[in-house]
Amino acid sequence: MNFGVIECVPTGKSIAAPGWAYVPDTGPNVTALQPGRKRARNQLTTSSHETTAKQDAKILREIEELQRENMRDAFIPIPAKSKDNARGTSKSSSAVRKILTSQKTFQNHLEDYHALKALAPSQPSSSATQAPPTPAPLTPAPRAPSTLHLTSTGKRSHKKKPNPTDPVATSVRKASTIVMPPPPPPVPSRQVILDDSEPGPKPHERDGEKLLVSYIPQLPTQEELDALMRIPPLSYVEAKGGYLEGEGTGKPVRKFCEVCGYWGRVKCMRCGVRCCALECLQVHGEECFARYGA
């Protein structure tokens, strides 16, 4: 019995919250979680999403596996002998030593980043394109002890919010949206690069009229370009490319035979794995028995 509580395996369609969720228990649908049944084959599936939750979890796990460096867990410590010619490890400051000894993985850093970002919830997170170009001097954010209010109007929240307890982080970007008291001389010179393209359409004239003669859309003005260039980088997650559902592209998702790699035209009745024909299905069947019991 599941008492109406079903574990949400992360599928593309599931809600953002991980773990458990209450969903209406509408009878036969629960077979989705017991794919060992023959009934699973016959149940009504939505056209865009014809995998069961269990299969989705398997796919996710397999993709995660493909991102790994080594297939088995192994750790190579720094060889000890080379400590001799280390150039003055003693001179490292404590902050640097902390960085060097940190064994955080990228995943840890990413989670830290999101945790810090969640502390400053006031910001719209997806207004990448219309962020107005606010020059830094116009946004006098208080350099207050309450570091949570670092946000200025035009900047998105992807900046690291300094954590007061973290000595490394505090020095980081506290000032990133704040007026810097000593105006550093090289910063305005950065704009020189953009000023080079002073007449907006210049890039295209250089690229050769021959190429563009057929159709030339309205070029953005220099101000628009400047504004565009001033938008801060997206965060790691925001930069990830999106996904167009099968129908959006006009192409259905292709399925392949798990055994030989040819088109997957038939489904295993037990586990839903795709196979190309009877022969491969029999090969698959041998291990399918082993996995689920007869």
């Binding site: 080594n70 192994a74 060889p79 970007r173 295209h204 260039m229 167009l244 592209t249 790699g261």
Partner: protein
């Protein structure tokens, strides 16, 4: 500790620049300096004028590796290894970003600061150009700045997204329609750069060598992913090679190609229904290929050769009596050759919920003003190791064309040397003292204004 250079550093930039393209798989590193007439004494072969031949960097594996005998190799020592069976790697760069400085410091010290290092340099007299993947986490960027200045003490430093350096090439010369090369401004005015590397694939539109940040997009598939996928396919169908990623990578580089006719190739490699073997299956019209695995006794490197349909029978004869050739371990690859790189274009083939590269470019373009589209579409350049997969740029050209507005001219080019292209861009940048000085920060400035200022400066604000 070397005596620090005094105030002179503020006015005159360091004499030579160490350019490091710190990739997930290999470091591309070498020196560049504006004074060609006055080449640096130590490694001199990489200082030629950019007009004639571009300099080449040293390519150093960015890893610690351990073989079956528990021997550990650091960076370039890997070339001394003669048995890559069950090799294990530890890489400081994870998902494209420099995460583990403990390991990276070890490798850098071995390659750049050790007494016997080929690229030995004194950081206090050297400028540094260091690349990072776009959309890095701020914390990682700060760590990087801190280590570069506070641990190594480089005289000056420019940290930049790797794609942007490619703009310093003469991009127009890559395209098949050669016009009189203008070559007036060094960063190309407009460029859509696709960097398909070891960890991921990114699309970066560049204006005047500067990334249009809101339009940068990433696909989480890179060379490592493809290698692991190939390892999985081989392990399911032939030998278990999941622990031999090094060898599988070599197989991938030798055999994989991007298909121009996926459906057709698929039919050609189909064995046919039971009891009705297709004749075409035997050689699959040249698609079937044999890869002879290295055994690390007689053969230290595997190689590919045309598939011999009678090999199985021959093998049987040989094992009964005769000699050497029977000892060959052969993998026969058919549809693995093109289904593996295919997932760069159709990640949904393996159930990944991301769109392929062409759609990724489309995403990216939709974040820039429409007026810039023709410029970007006419200047698409591919760099990164995956660009070396045969057929990659042709296929991408095809897919972009089918998405682009009919009026737009689409030109897709592969960089002359996709792997070192980013580094070469950095080397060209380093020959322009003024430009580099404008972009980089010196140690004094860092000490004066602090890490936050440095981070802001590299962000371009």
């Amino acid at each position: 500790m070397a005596p620090r250079k005094s105030t002179q550093d503020l006015s005159s930039p360091p004499r030579r620049t160490l350019v490091i393209d710190n990739g997930g798989h290999t470091i591309k590193a070498g020196f560049s300096s504006p004074a060609f007439a006055d080449p640096p004494p130590a490694p001199s072969d990489d200082s030629q004028t950019p007009q004639t031949a571009l300099p080449l960097p040293s390519i150093i594996p960015n890893c610690l590796a351990r073989d079956r005998d528990k021997k550990v190799y650091i960076g370039s020592q890997l070339s001394r290894c003669d048995d890559f069976n069950e090799m294990i790697f530890r890489r400081p760069v994870e998902r494209g970003y420099l995460v583990n400085w403990e390991a990276e410091k070890e490798i850098w010290e071995h390659e750049f600061f050790d007494q016997k290092a080929a690229l030995k340099c004194d950081p206090s007299e050297t400028g540094l150009i260091l690349t990072e993947a776009p959309n890095a986490l701020p914390q990682l960027q700060t760590n990087c700045d801190q280590v570069v200045f506070e641990e190594f003490g480089f005289a000056s430093y420019y940290r930049c997204p790797a794609p942007s350096l490619n703009a310093y090439h003469n991009i127009q010369s890559l395209f098949p329609v050669p016009r009189a090369p203008p070559k007036t401004s060094s960063p190309a005015e407009i460029l859509l750069l696709i960097d398909s590397g070891y960890s991921h694939t990114t699309v970066t539109p560049l204006l005047q060598g500067q990334a249009i940040q809101p339009a940068v997009r990433r696909l989480d598939i890179g060379g490592k992913f493809l290698t692991n996928y190939l390892a999985r396919l081989i392990s399911r169908r032939q030998y278990d090679m999941r622990n031999d990623t090094y060898i599988v990578n070599e197989i991938k580089e030798a055999c994989c190609y991007v298909s121009r006719d996926f459906k057709g190739d698929m039919e050609r490699t189909w064995k046919g229904p039971k009891g009705d073997r297709r004749e075409v299956y035997a050689t699959s019209e040249g698609i079937a290929i044999d890869y002879v695995l290295p055994d690390y006794h007689k053969r230290s490197k595997g190689y590919a050769r045309d598939h011999d349909p009678n090999a199985a029978g021959k093998l049987k004869n040989l094992t009964t009596g005769k000699s050497v050739e029977a000892a060959e371990d052969i993998l026969t690859l058919r549809n693995e050759r093109f289904t593996v790189p295919e997932i760069l274009f159709n990640p949904s083939d393996i159930g990944m919920r991301q769109s392929g590269i062409a759609q990724l470019i489309w995403d990216s373009l939709s974040a820039v003003p429409f007026g810039l589209w023709p410029g970007f579409l006419a200047n698409v350049v591919i760099v990164g190791g995956n660009a070396n997969v045969p057929g990659f740029s042709e296929r991408l050209d095809m897919e972009i064309r089918s998405l682009a507005p009919a009026e737009c001219i689409v030109r897709v080019a592969k960089a002359a040397d996709p792997i070192v292209s980013t580094w070469q861009g950095g080397a060209i940048l380093a020959t322009d003292v003024e430009a580099l000085k404008r972009l980089s920060i010196t140690k004094q400035e860092y000490e004066e204004h602090g890490a936050a200022w440095a981070a802001r400066k590299f962000d371009g604000r």
